[in-house]
């Protein structure tokens, strides 16, 4: 049923495109389509990377962190500051922006969320909501609501004769891939990474195994914040941003983890690519498509919730 629905969902832009005569099937159009899909996949890789941070927090603590996108936004500003104030390459600056983000996530967990985790589910949700708003207004107080952008690798990269991709987008995708693989390897092999997985599977048993789950919560929040800030750095070299940009990224990350299955890391990667490809197909083929992108993306999320609440890869028992 889900497969059928997805086939229909991804055919729909083509159907509307043909109907409105935006689809030509000539050589140039096919090359453009390939470019668009490729761009979607690359963009999806970046979205997926920071969505993994959101799904980690949910998986380990059952906390819905609605401030995740604000952390992405903060990452964009950290990137901007390191570029304009310190003169660092934003990507090289990740050497210190990511540890800063890890520390911030760690402190938020230690001093705020650890106090309310395990209690009524609404409390941590409201706390992250307040935290997100506080971050928006704090950044606004310093930088105003003006849009900022970073001129980074503006030229394009000729992939084949007809397919061209933005250099900054390609760089972002490669970085997102490297970081995601790094996080997966950490979760798979490292002692603490394994403890994170153990805690998300059963916190009580993790405790009797000698795992200090509150310590694991702090590491998880730290990694999650670092992934969000990395996401922020990677979008900051491609798009403009202002203090309110974060909300969009929160919603995007939610759509991705719903698609992929809550708490599932590979699912988040697939969900990220699916969402971004859908967005690019719509903006490419529909008249006035860019305005419809968000509606389609969240429509996809709502229908997946309806048809298969656990998402593509989520565990059956939930």
């Amino acid at each position: 049923m889900l497969a059928g629905f997805l086939v229909i969902a991804y055919s729909l832009p083509f159907a509307i495109g043909i109907y409105t005569e935006n689809v030509f099937f000539d050589r140039q159009w096919l090359a453009d389509l390939a470019t668009v899909v490729l761009n979607g996949v690359m963009q999806g890789g970046v979205y997926a990377m920071f969505a993994v941070g959101l799904t980690m927090i949910f998986g380990v603590m059952r906390i819905i962190n609605v401030a995740h996108g604000e952390m992405v936004m903060l990452g964009a500003y950290l990137s901007w500051m390191s570029f304009f104030w310190l003169g660092f390459d934003p990507l090289l600056a990740m050497v210190f922006t990511l540890p800063i983000a890890f520390g911030l996530g760690w402190m938020i967990q230690k001093f705020l969320l650890n106090a309310v985790v395990g209690g009524p589910e609404l409390t941590p949700l409201l706390m992250t909501f307040g935290l997100g708003l506080a971050m928006i207004y704090a950044v606004e107080a310093v930088f105003t609501t003006d849009f900022k952008s970073i001129p980074y690798a503006p030229d394009s990269f000729q992939l084949t004769e007809t397919i061209v991709v933005g250099k900054s987008r390609l760089i972002s995708f490669v970085m997102a891939l490297v970081i995601s693989v790094g996080v997966f390897m950490f979760l798979k092999k490292h002692r603490i990474g394994k403890a994170i997985r153990a805690t998300s599977q059963n916190a009580d048993v993790a405790m009797v195994c000698g795992i200090n789950i509150y310590g694991i919560y702090m590491v998880t929040s730290g990694i999650s914040a670092a992934l969000a800030v990395a996401g922020g750095v990677l979008v900051s070299i491609q798009f403009g941003f202002n203090p309110e940009t974060g909300i969009i990224y929160t919603l995007q990350a939610f759509a991705i983890i719903v698609l992929g299955g809550r708490g599932h890391y590979i699912g988040a990667m697939i969900g990220g690519v699916m969402l971004a490809v859908m967005e690019s197909l719509i903006s490419f083929m529909l008249p006035n498509g860019t305005a419809l992108v968000e509606i389609a993306a969240y429509g996809l999320m709502i229908f997946v919730l309806l048809i298969r609440p656990r998402g593509l890869m989520g565990p059956k028992t939930d």
Binding site: R197, D204, V205, M207, V208, C209, G210, I211, N212
Partner: protein, 236 residues
């Protein structure tokens, strides 16, 4: 001196009190069982010892030192292992990863390997299935994995909550044989069991709890011969 001692423990979940002045002690190298009807507070007693739930009053000492107010991972670090009820394993992890997690507080790789070998000699079946996911094993195998995991730190004492619950008769016998073998090796064991007759047969001493209070105590044989205990808890 008792290895583990509870004195007048009051405890509960939130505002509802479950235990009223429960006292018990376990000597070194002893096998002690706790029996009683449902709702007697048997599992709760284990959870309060491990630091999982609200503590209202009383004293708990292990090796003569207070263990009240510590987290479960800290209590494990003092040499007290725990196998929770319901043969809970990490479903999405392999047998080997499950055992690795059991040794989380041990940093010495050589000691972890030794403990792993020890667990594999106790449970040859786990050795054969090192790469199988915990969630795909049978109930009896999961109980073995949960017990093996609790032995990975080579604790001084372990507490096992309802090891035979829901297992087939063949596995029930295996579980009791294993407890006897561990006891012979010098491990101190406290076990909660609904299979009270079998539990008393292998125990040095036993406690009967009822509605969160101490009711009877004695050697395994004394409790098996006690008319009241027989009538009320051993089915005649």
């Amino acid at each position: 001196m008792a290895l583990l001692e509870l004195k007048n423990i009051d405890a509960g979940y939130g505002r509802s009190q479950i235990l009223y002045g429960v006292s018990l002690e376990v000597m070194e190298k002893e096998v002690v069982c706790v029996i009683g009807p449902n709702g007697a507070g048997k599992s709760t007693t284990f959870k309060i010892i491990m630091g999982f739930i609200n503590y209202l009053g009383g004293e708990i000492t292990f090796n003569g030192a207070n263990i009240v107010g510590f987290r479960p991972d800290q209590i494990l670090g003092k040499g007290l292992g725990y196998v929770p009820q319901g043969r809970i394993v990490f479903n999405q992890m392999t047998v080997r990863e499950n055992l690795d997690m059991g040794a989380y507080i041990e940093r010495d790789k050589k000691k972890i390997e030794e403990a792993m070998d020890y667990v594999f000699t106790l449970f040859p079946r786990l050795a054969e299935r090192q790469k199988q996911l915990g969630g795909t094993m049978s109930g009896g195998e999961q109980q073995m994995l949960a017990m093996g995991r609790a032995l990975m730190t080579r604790p001084q004492m372990i507490m096992i909550d309802e090891p035979s619950l829901g297992l087939s008769p063949r596995f029930v016998s295996e579980v009791f044989e294993l407890i006897l073998r561990l006891a012979e090796e010098g491990l101190t064991i406290m076990v909660v069991e609904q299979n009270a007759t079998r539990a008393l047969e292998i125990s040095d001493r036993g406690y009967v709890l009822e509605l969160g209070r101490n009711r009877y105590e004695g050697t395994g044989q004394e409790l098996l011969n006690n008319q009241d205990v027989r009538r009320m808890y051993l089915g005649g």
